[in-house]
Amino acid sequence: MKLTPLFVGATLLALTGSASAQTLTIATVNNGDMIRMQGLSSQFTEETGIALNWVVLEENTLRQNVTTDIATNGGQYDIMTIGTYEAPIWAKQGWLKPLDALSADADYDVDDLLPAIRGGLSVDGTLYAAPFYGESSFIMYRTDLMEKAGLEMPEAPTWEFIGEAARAMTDRDNDINGICLRGKAGWGENMAFLTAMSNSFGARWFDENWQPQFDQPEWKNTLDTYLSLMADAGPSGASSNGFNENLTLFQQGKCGMWIDATVAASFVTNPEDSTVADKVGFAQAPDNGLGKRGNWLWAWSLAIPASSQNAEAAETFINWATSKDYLALVAENEGWANVPPGTRTSLYENPDYQAAAPFAAMTLASIDSADPNAPTVEPVPYVGVQFVAIPEFAGIGTNVGQLFSAALAGQMSADDALAQAQEATLRDMTRAGYIK
């Protein structure tokens, strides 16, 4: 009898001990590939005995949550889903654990990662986050509507052609919009698209002295083109549309064209979700003949915050989720077209993938054509194609995104939006000490 409490205590201790060592809390974004990973992750738990606790959030909320958690050393998560924007900034602050075991693992084959993306997630050659999927952006269009409009999409169209095609395809009576573009405010929402677009118009966020450039004609040209395109050929309520809203519109056959992330290709060509799966064509993001196309470069990646108590188990999970074996696992369960794209060279050399994913070559070409180190026509002091890799950008970009979203909603003129963007950005950059 005397032994019982002792026994119960010891069992409890063992249970809580093992539970804390074997449960990983993972923060991730509610995009299709992550939801799929969550579904397949029971296999990982079966293999390793490590339990997973998922926190799945919408993009903007996820960013706020993980930023606050890591900056205050909150220690809520063992693994965070972050992008190419956060990874180098956080790594430099010492907020992330280097993925040394992963880099040393021959089976993992770190050299197989696409160079542009691996570079974006490393600092001084050390990998701090492993890419789960990588993306650029390109044009997805309806081949049937294009044919009906009597046009043919070139492989690398100009903005002028896109404008003409979008207006020709628009059929408001039948609820068909010539083009769907992001309008929801956020540095990772409308500003990702608009910044990439502005690159092809010769615009830039800052000149070499960190002076904001919204008072320059290139930005005005970008915004005017975007607004008139959306007014003539965009869906109603576009200023609330982000990636997921546009995906739904396109899948329901309500968009003639959609310029967005390359990962969307597998969703719009999947007959189970998309009503237009067999009528989708792909083309490179538009340009203006200035030498830069309007496409971005991004990788949703998994990283371990320095505060994690379960770093070893976390690295095991990251290895599992970003390995070649995981790609094979998805292929086995859901077909090759649905594997997370844009991270490994070997995937693009795989004949099974090439056969299953008609968008593979175009995706790789788009990723390869975006250069974070020289994103604009004229030189800039920053890195990043559709963002500016400084800590303050998340706040500044969202602020500017609000103004451009207001211009799209018709609450403000393009000139007012640009003037206010210039003023607000100048204020914030002066406060942050970039401008003396």
Partner: protein
């Protein structure tokens, strides 16, 4: 009569509760004050040290500060107007002897039980969304173009949602006041030949004045800090069209990770709330003395 001993005893026994309450209120306020004079950015650990008035200058100099202030007042005023007129009307209706009165009253009060973010989500997706919302379908049924409420009328939409939530509160308080009105007084007026409008104007409304004052005071305190409804529906936009002071503080402190300026914004918000409260107490609070 309390002796010296019992007084000491009472004070000693009350002390822990009073101290806990004081700490509970004073510590966050003191921390906010302290941070508001510090350079403190979550994303830039190099930025530290005393900031002087820089954070305050930054918040008050924000291009959207004036608009946020105006929006805050429009929000409070709009919701008060709807809830008090609507609440009086509903209270008069609910005071009538009708069949199923009990169930009807519970139904009218029920929005008050719904959490603000949930209410906002229901309104956003269920009613006001131009694509899937009920109102959108209604508009289409009449051959009209659905209204994109949150983009075309952002502040008005937020006012509608918040008013929907606070209407039950106003109705409940006003109904209670109405029921305390003596039946004899009403009957006397009726016998003297006063019609319904005059009875309402000269008997019912003055009787409810005190309750209306309570509703205005309590609601104003809560409405100055409306946040969840804005966060869920418009995100302060488009532009700054639906940004109020509370949302501006959130944007500065959390979205831009600038704790120093966010805290300064919080202090400014507290000062504004106090000015409004003092003004209100003077203007309408005198009803309470009578």
């Amino acid at each position: 009569m309390a002796t010296r001993q019992t007084r000491i005893l009472a004070r000693t026994m009350m002390a822990p509760a009073v101290i806990v309450l004081l700490i509970w209120m004073a510590v966050p306020l003191a921390m906010t004050l302290w941070f508001s004079f510090q350079n403190y950015s979550l994303i830039n650990p190099m930025l530290t040290g005393f900031a002087g008035w820089a954070n305050y200058a930054y918040v008050i100099g924000d291009p959207s500060f004036t608009q946020a202030l105006v929006n805050t007042l429009i929000l409070v005023g709009g919701v008060l107007l709807i809830t008090i007129i609507g609440g009086t009307f509903l209270a008069l209706l609910l005071d009538q002897p009708i069949w199923g009165q009990g169930i009807l009253r519970i139904l009218v009060i029920s929005p008050f039980f719904v959490m603000p973010p949930v209410a906002a989500l229901i309104w956003k997706n269920g009613f006001m969304h131009p694509g899937y919302g009920m109102l959108g379908h209604l508009w289409k049924a009449f051959g009209l173009q659905p209204v994109d409420w949150f983009n075309q009328y952002p502040l008005f939409s937020v006012i509608v949602i918040v008013a929907w939530q606070w209407l039950p509160f106003a109705t409940l308080i006003l109904l209670t006041a109405l029921q305390s009105l003596s039946e004899e007084q009403r009957e006397a007026a009726e016998m003297d030949g006063a019609n319904a409008v005059n009875r309402f104007r000269f008997i019912i409304l003055p009787h409810m004045a005190r309750a209306i004052t309570i509703v205005i005071l309590i609601q104003t305190i809560f409405l100055l800090g409306i946040f969840a409804e804005i966060r869920v529906t418009t995100g302060g936009g488009p532009g700054y069209a639906s940004t109020n002071i509370a949302f501006l503080v959130f944007r500065t402190g959390i979205l831009s990770n600038d704790i120093g300026a966010g805290s300064a914004g919080g202090v400014v918000a507290v000062i504004i709330a106090n000015i409004v409260a003092i003004f209100l107490m003077r203007a309408v609070g005198k009803n309470l003395d009578a």
